[in-house]
Structure formats: structure tokens, C-alpha cells
């Protein structure tokens, strides 16, 4: 390490304070009270993941926020999700950055403890263990592409780890104990050093994701990652610990006794208890529970039913929270080399993708999402809350209603004058079924015949990731930014960048897109001090090339009970920040 510049944590503390004071304003009349129970009704019968390693859905992150802490994090915002972009120290008090911007040295807090199965102090080596666990062959970290690019020696370490047999806890533990990642080390209990091969403007943002949480090796190594036993014995580093967990029934989180409020400037931890109820199984019953006061918040309810949105908007305005979220829905293509059907082949031609983009009626889709309050038409890859966003529509149509005539023309030009048959998969939820049925009807006018294939939500990713599955397009694709603001890497530097996400098992949505121009621009943007304009340029190139067809950008709508006295949004969860919500008690 050469010359290092010390970054004052004071400056960050001040900016954090200013944020705290701005969002404290509306609640000035009534200071949020501590205590009480926050009750959450889940649409899914269980958490899709409950381990910092595997949690990658916004809903799992919402819950993980209560039981994990990171090096740096966001304090939550009561105004809008996009306002929650200011990083504050979390388990770290301060950090130094080397002159070349490649090495970060974190200094950890003193009064931070685990809770649940162990109550010992959190030390730097717990972070090292957490990161070493990322490529456990039994279960890999959910977004490995970030760490492949960001941490020195990570790829090589994972390559060795992949040779370890699966299903053998002792073998995994032995490997972790005997191997090191070149870029991650803990010189002493309170110091953590993370090195990168390159300078990355979003390095701290990457570390703010729930993946990078400390775990006590003496507990975690006893269980397979994200197994039922792990979930029940979750070693919490956050303000709450798992008191009981019955999948399909209930998850109870209780405030940890050794959680020190003064050591956490990002989580107020107002409530004493958080209860997640998994027994409601339809959108309708969730809303009923909230309206009846049996639940305060929902989980896994992406878009509330239209009728409920209107009812809350007209009668219970104070219980409806809406925010831009940067999350979007789009149509992706099965671009795996294994996909050789007529439809998949046709979609490899730009004209066919353009035709599909023209055939889709985005205004119609916005309407069935609940109108302008819940979404806006989208025609580009980067969404409105993300760095590099400049409104851009390469294929505009009047009122975003689509242009079937133009679509037909393009299809004919591409060699399909008689139209085209495409196999389209969708998730069998009310929301996605409505989208699927609407798209089918709209593109039929352009001569595109969609054969709808319903896939149950629980089988969705397994189906898409299976190379043998027969499908041409997916009407159920969506994304939410991993964090607000400088998270452009996720799409333009990740999902669509063949350097970071080569076609294969790690390519979650089988997007398999490769564009040399994009890869060049991304490589230019990562170490840049001003990446915004580079990403904007990349967005224009890619949006015109249609690696997927953007449909609409969602606003996040949260319906709550009247018990909630203080509201907060979370950047990472792209919805409620359960550690900063207060309830009547």
C-alpha cells in the first residue's frame, strides 16, 4: 500500500445528519415512539432466501436488513426511494482509500455484537469469512459478477473452491480455513482490508449490499447455506434476531438485547418485534388483512390490486406510500445458443425485435398496472433513478400505444410477411397474467401469435435457467436496482455485459447478450470519476439494439395499516425500511 488518504467519517456523519433532519421534518409534530410490533403479511408461503449469501430479491432484502449489518449502508428516507442514496458508516467507523483508489482499509466499531445463537463481538475476520463463503459450491452468492470484477483474487479462489465436493460441510469448512482470497484480509480484530484490481467508483455501493455481512464461522459453518437449520439459527449482526421461524407459518424477529442504538446511525429500530405472517395466500387477502388492521405491511406484493390502490388513494391517502423506484418490467428473449426454435431464431434479428417493440402497447400495460400512479411507459434500459439516465425512446409511437402497421412492415422486411409464432412464458400471478394476456392481444394485431405458457412462480427461475426449457420470450421479467443512484453497473455492466455475465449458468435470465461496444464503454466507466455521461452513451447504443424490450417503469406502492406513525423507504429493499418504521403502541 502506498500513500493513503484518510476519508473523514465526520463529513459523512454530517451529511447523514442533514438527511435525518430533513426526513424528520414531516414527523415533527409527533416524534416516532419506540416499541410495539410490526406485523407483515407475506404473499409467498416462505422467504425465497434468508441468508445474506443467497438473498437477492427485494423482499428478502427487506427482511435481511433487520438481521444483518454491513460496512456501509443507507439510512432510509421518508420522502422517496431515490433520496436514500447517501452512504453512511455502518459497522465501520471510518475507512482509508489508497491513492490509486484500489485498496480500502476499514476500521470497525467496538461496541457491535452478534445476536441469536451467539452474542459475541463482531470482528473483522467475520467479514472475511462471510466473503470466503461466497463461492461455497453448496450455494453460491446470488450476484457473483459484482465480486468477480471488484475483489482481487476472488475469481481464482472461487475456481479452487468449485473443486470441493458438494454436500460435505467439513470439506467446505476445511477449504475456507486453509485458503485465502488475495484481496480480502483482517490484519487485526478491528481492521479489514479489501483490494480491487481496478479503481471502481461504486466500490462502496457494492459493499453496501446485504451479501457483505459478517457471519460467525463457528455458527455458520455448522449449516448448509440458506438451509432450514441456518434460517432457524440465523447469526444476526443487525438490531433484531430470529426468535422463531416456522416456514409457511411465521417468522418472529425480536430486538437484540446487546444492540446499541448509538452504534447504528442507519437503523433506528423503533419496533420491539417484527412478525412475518406467511398464511395469507392471495393479493386480495393481504389487502384485507391490512385494511382490517391485522397486518401493517405487505411482503412479496409487487403491485397491489388496482381496486385497492384506488380505495386507499381516495379514502386512506395517509396509508398509501408511493415512490419512484427505478424498477422495471420487460420482455426478455431466450438467447441461449441451445434455443433453436423458429421464434428464438427470428428474435436474433434486430428487425424482429424492433417489430415486437412497436407491436407492444405500453399505454395499455400501464393502465392494467393501475395507471400513472403505479407505472410509466419505458423505452430504454436505464431507468429514471439510475446514474446515466437521459430520457430516450429509439422507437417512439404516439402515446406509447404501439404501431402494429409499422411492426408488420418490419416483420415482412425480416422475412416474416405472414407473421410469426412465438412461445411466451409468464408467471401465474394476477399481475403477470394480466400483462401476458394484454401483450398477447396487442401483438396479435401485428401478426405475432404468442403461445402463452404459464409457469408457477416457485418454478420460475428453475425453468428459465434450465437450458432444455422451450421458450422464446419471457413476459415475466423484471428488475429492481440493487441500490439507487450509481447502480448502472447492475444492468449495463452486469446483466448485459458479456465480460461480467457470460452466457451460461450464472446468466440468470438467459439474456446472453454480447455487445463489444457496450463492454468497451463499461470498462471505461468503472474506474471513471464521472461515469454518468459514459453510461448515458452506452444506454443509447444498447436501448436501440433491444437486448430486451422495456415495457414500463414501476412506482413502488406500499399500502399500510393506520398503526404506522413513521414511514421510511429503503434504497436496497426498494420498498419499506422495516428498521426505520415506527408503529402506534
Amino acid at each position: 500500500m502506498t500513500h493513503s488518504t484518510r476519508r473523514s467519517s465526520q463529513r459523512i456523519a454530517i451529511s447523514a445528519l442533514s438527511i435525518l433532519s430533513t426526513f424528520a421534518l414531516p414527523a415533527k409534530a409527533e416524534e416516532p415512539k419506540f416499541g410495539g410490533t410490526l406485523r407483515i403479511a407475506s404473499l409467498q408461503a416462505d422467504l425465497d432466501a434468508f441468508d445474506p449469501l443467497t438473498g437477492y430479491s427485494t423482499d428478502s432484502w427487506e427482511i435481511l436488513r433487520a438481521v444483518t449489518r454491513q460496512l456501509v449502508t443507507y439510512p432510509g428516507a421518508s420522502t422517496d426511494i431515490k433520496d436514500d442514496t447517501q452512504l453512511v458508516p455502518d459497522l465501520a467507523t471510518s475507512w482509508d482509500v489508497s491513492a490509486d483508489g484500489k485498496t480500502y482499509t476499514f476500521h470497525l466499531k467496538d461496541d457491535v455484537f452478534f445476536s441469536g445463537p451467539t452474542e459475541r463481538k463482531i470482528v473483522a475476520s467475520d467479514f472475511v469469512y462471510g466473503i470466503k463463503r461466497f463461492c461455497d459450491p453448496n450455494k453460491q452468492v446470488a450476484a457473483i459478477n459484482y465480486f468477480n470484477l471488484a475483489i482481487s483474487g476472488f475469481k481464482a479462489y472461487c475456481k479452487d473452491f468449485s473443486k470441493v465436493a458438494t454436500g460435505d460441510l467439513a470439506a467446505s469448512k476445511a477449504f475456507i480455513d486453509s485458503h485465502d482470497i488475495a484481496g480480502v484480509s483482517a490484519p487485526d480484530e478491528k481492521t479489514l482490508v479489501i483490494k480491487s484490481d481496478t479503481k471502481n467508483y461504486d466500490f462502496l455501493n457494492i459493499l453496501s449490499m446485504n451479501f457483505v455481512s459478517p457471519l460467525p464461522p463457528e455458527i455458520s459453518s455448522k449449516y448448509f447455506p440458506d438451509s432450514a437449520e441456518f434460517r432457524k439459527n440465523f447469526p444476526s449482526s443487525g438490531p433484531y434476531f430470529v426468535e422463531s421461524y416456522q416456514d409457511g407459518q411465521k417468522l418472529i424477529l425480536k430486538k437484540a438485547k446487546n444492540f446499541k442504538a448509538e452504534s447504528d446511525q442507519a437503523r433506528k429500530a423503533y419496533v420491539d418485534e417484527i412478525v412475518v405472517d406467511f398464511t395469507a395466500n392471495s393479493e386480495d387477502s393481504i389487502v384485507q388483512k391490512i385494511e382490517a388492521g391485522e397486518a401493517d405491511l405487505s411482503l412479496y406484493l409487487d403491485v397491489p390490486p388496482r381496486s385497492a390502490i384506488r380505495r386507499f388513494q381516495t379514502q386512506k391517502q395517509a396509508q398509501l406510500h408511493a415512490s419512484n423506484s427505478g424498477a422495471a418490467n420487460f420482455i426478455t428473449f431466450n438467447a441461449r445458443p441451445e434455443a433453436k426454435s423458429e421464434g428464438a431464431d427470428a428474435l436474433r434479428k434486430l428487425e424482429v425485435r424492433q417489430a415486437l417493440s412497436y407491436a407492444v402497447n405500453r399505454a395499455h400495460l400501464v393502465q392494467i398496472q393501475g395507471g400513472p400512479i403505479s407505472s410509466v411507459p419505458l423505452s430504454q434500459i436505464i431507468t429514471s433513478t439510475i446514474l446515466g439516465h437521459e430520457p430516450f425512446d429509439p422507437y417512439p409511437t404516439e402515446g406509447s400505444k404501439g404501431d402494429p402497421a409499422k411492426a408488420k412492415e418490419l416483420l415482412a422486411k425480416a422475412g416474416y410477411p405472414k407473421g410469426l409464432k412465438i412461445d411466451a412464458i409468464y408467471r401465474t400471478t394476477a399481475q403477470f397474467e394480466a400483462i401476458a394476456v394484454a401483450v398477447k392481444e396487442d401483438v396479435a394485431a401485428a401478426g405475432i401469435d404468442l403461445n402463452l405458457i404459464p409457469i408457477p412462480p416457485t418454478q420460475w427461475y428453475a425453468f428459465i435457467q434450465d437450458a432444455k426449457s422451450r421458450w422464446d420470450i419471457s413476459l415475466g421479467s423484471q428488475f429492481a436496482p440493487d441500490w439507487q443512484g450509481p447502480s448502472t453497473r447492475m444492468l449495463l455492466g452486469g446483466w448485459l455485459n458479456s465480460d461480467a455475465s457470460p452466457c451460461g449458468t450464472g446468466n440468470v435470465s438467459s439474456i446472453c447478450y454480447s455487445n463489444a461496444d457496450l463492454n468497451t464503454l463499461a470498462a471505461e466507466a468503472f474506474p471513471s470519476d464521472n461515469p454518468g455521461p459514459i453510461w448515458a452513451k452506452a444506454d443509447k447504443i444498447v436501448s436501440a439494439d433491444l437486448p430486451w424490450i422495456p415495457l414500463f417503469e414501476k412506482r413502488k406502492i406500499a399500502l399500510t395499516s393506520e398503526r404506522i406513525t413513521h414511514w421510511a423507504w429503503s434504497s436496497l429493499a426498494v420498498q419499506a425500511d422495516i428498521t426505520n418504521i415506527a408503529v402506534k403502541n
Binding site: 393502465q367 392494467i368 398496472q369 394480466a434 402463452l452 422451450r470
Partner: protein
């Protein structure tokens, strides 16, 4: 006993030409008249679906986002253009309900008929040959009866996915087969009981004495005698099978969107909770299902009253 009664009725009809025909006897029964009336309405609805669609200018899957949905995507209620209002995608609920009747009958009738054919065959063999064959077949029927319908149907339907994820057999056909798989047992038990009684009747014994072959006895003596009861039972089982189709579609494994079926319409109205703003979205298919079941049940109970002397005297 039941079979004897039926035999007595048909015998009576043959002997006395002046007495009223079977149809006339049936028509005297009030529940037959009411039931037949409702069933006729349901058939008419199913047949008139394309005509109504043509008259209104709304196909069963056409979406009218401009006229049938407001800006927030909430469907309009009943009006001249949409007599039962629209659904969440701006489709005509009346037209879809009528097409739903087609689907219900298209699944219900073949499923019940297949079940009747299989059940009658198995029951006849079991009852006629009695002894060891009967014991084995009866055990088999008991085993088949012990499978829970919904759970087994769900697993069978999800098994219907080949290596590529595409259905191996068209889902509509699978639904028909699954439903008949679960209803043949009722026919088999009924037939077995009837045949068991008939095989020891003087009529059959007489045929055996004159040296008639077994197939001839079954064809000429047994089948004509059990047929009326089996046909009545067909009408009893049909509404149950229509409900079974609606159940599977409601659970998302039966008829697939965007094809209308009462089951998936009810599921859609319920899942989106749009029924709170547009009650006819739920009431349309719900009432249609109710009416169909009531119609067939009334008709079959009337038929039973007429054809079963024990019921008639009571």
C-alpha cells in the same frame, strides 16, 4: 331392487300401449320440467355465445382498454355495450361467461361419458363374473376412490410437462382425462351392484339354461336393464364434473388464459380483487356455474324420482 323397478317400468311400457310414454311420465314430474328448462337455457347460452359476441362486437378474448377500463385500469360495470361489465383486461364478462358455458360442457360431457363407459365396463365385469375377479376389482375401486382429487389432479397436471417444459398432451385433454379418472369409480360401483343382483335373477338364469353365451347375456339381458339407471347417474355426475373443471381452472392448472372458463374467471376476479369494484366480474361466472349445477341436479333428481319406484312411493 332398483333394477327390478326399472325393469318393471320398461316392461310396463312395452305391455300397455295406451298408457303414457316414458317421456310423458317424466314431464309430469315438476323437478324434471324445471331441471330440463335450466339445462336447456345453459345449452342455449353455450350455443348462442358466438351470436352474442357478434351482436355486441366483442370476441371472448378482445380487450377494450379505451371503453371498458378507466385510467387506473378499473373495469366498467354493466352497460348497454357491456351487459355484465368488463373484466380486468377490458374483456366482456357476458361474452366470456357464455363461452365459459361452452368450455364447461366441452369438458364435462366427454369426461362424464368416458367415466361412464369405463365405469360400466369395469362394474359389469366385476359384478357378472363375481368371485375372485370381483374381489380384486372391488379392491381396485376402493384404492382409486382413496386418492384425494385435488392433490392428485394437481400432481398429474404438473407431471404433464415434457423435458422442454411444454405440455406433452394438450391441457384440455388432460383435464378431461383427469376428471374421468376420478369419476369412473362411482359408475363402476353402481353398475357392479346392479349386475350382481341381475346375474342371479330368473331372467339371466333362464338365458343360462338355454345356453346363451356370456356376452349375449350381458348384451341382451343385463345392459338394457342397467342402462336407464346408469344414464340417470350420468346426469348426476355431470354437474360434479363441471365443478371439478372449474376447480382445476381456479387453481390455475385447468383451462389456461386467455381462454375463458368459469373457474379461471372466478379466480381472476378474486385474485385481482376487482370484484369489489365490478361485482359482475365474479357474479357472472359464479351464477352461471351455480345455475348449471342446480339445473343438472334438479333434472337428475327428477329422473331418479320417476325411474326409481322406491323414491316415487316415498
Amino acid at each position: 331392487m332398483l333394477a327390478e323397478g326399472i325393469a318393471a317400468i320398461s316392461g310396463q311400457r312395452k305391455d300397455t300401449v295406451s298408457s303414457p310414454t316414458l317421456l310423458q311420465i317424466l314431464w309430469r314430474e315438476r323437478s324434471v320440467r324445471i331441471g330440463a328448462g335450466i339445462v336447456f337455457l345453459v345449452l342455449l347460452a353455450a350455443l348462442s355465445a358466438p351470436l352474442v359476441a357478434l351482436a355486441l362486437g366483442h370476441g371472448p378474448t378482445d380487450q377494450f382498454q379505451e371503453t371498458a377500463l378507466d385510467e387506473m385500469g378499473l373495469p366498467v360495470g354493466p352497460s348497454a355495450a357491456f351487459p355484465l361489465g368488463a373484466d380486468g383486461n377490458g374483456r366482456d364478462v357476458l361474452v366470456r361467461t357464455l363461452y365459459g358455458a361452452q368450455v364447461s360442457l366441452l369438458v364435462g360431457i366427454p369426461a362424464t361419458t368416458i367415466a361412464m363407459l369405463i365405469g360400466t365396463l369395469v362394474g359389469t365385469v366385476s359384478g357378472f363374473f363375481a368371485g375372485r375377479i370381483d374381489r380384486v376389482v372391488s379392491q381396485g375401486i376402493d384404492v382409486a376412490l382413496s386418492f384425494p382429487f385435488v392433490v392428485t389432479a394437481l400432481s398429474l397436471l404438473s407431471l404433464n410437462r415434457g423435458g422442454t417444459g411444454q405440455p406433452i398432451i394438450p391441457p384440455l385433454l388432460v383435464v378431461i382425462l383427469v376428471i374421468s379418472l376420478f369419476s369412473w369409480t362411482y359408475f363402476a360401483r353402481l353398475t357392479r351392484g346392479l349386475v350382481l343382483q341381475l346375474r342371479t335373477s330368473p331372467m339371466v338364469e333362464a338365458s343360462v339354461t338355454i345356453g346363451a353365451s356370456k356376452t349375449r347375456i350381458i348384451r341382451l339381458d343385463i345392459l338394457p336393464n342397467i342402462l336407464p339407471t346408469v344414464l340417470v347417474y350420468w346426469a348426476v355426475q355431470l354437474p360434479a364434473n363441471i365443478v371439478a373443471e372449474a376447480t382445476l381452472s381456479f387453481l390455475g392448472v385447468g383451462i389456461q388464459a386467455p381462454l375463458p372458463s368459469w373457474g379461471n374467471m372466478i379466480a381472476e376476479a378474486q385474485r385481482t380483487s376487482l370484484y369489489q369494484d365490478q361485482p359482475w366480474f365474479l357474479a357472472g361466472p359464479g351464477l352461471a356455474l351455480f345455475l348449471t349445477v342446480v339445473g343438472f341436479n334438479t333434472l337428475s333428481s327428477g329422473l331418479r324420482t320417476v325411474l326409481d319406484p322406491h323414491q316415487r312411493s316415498a
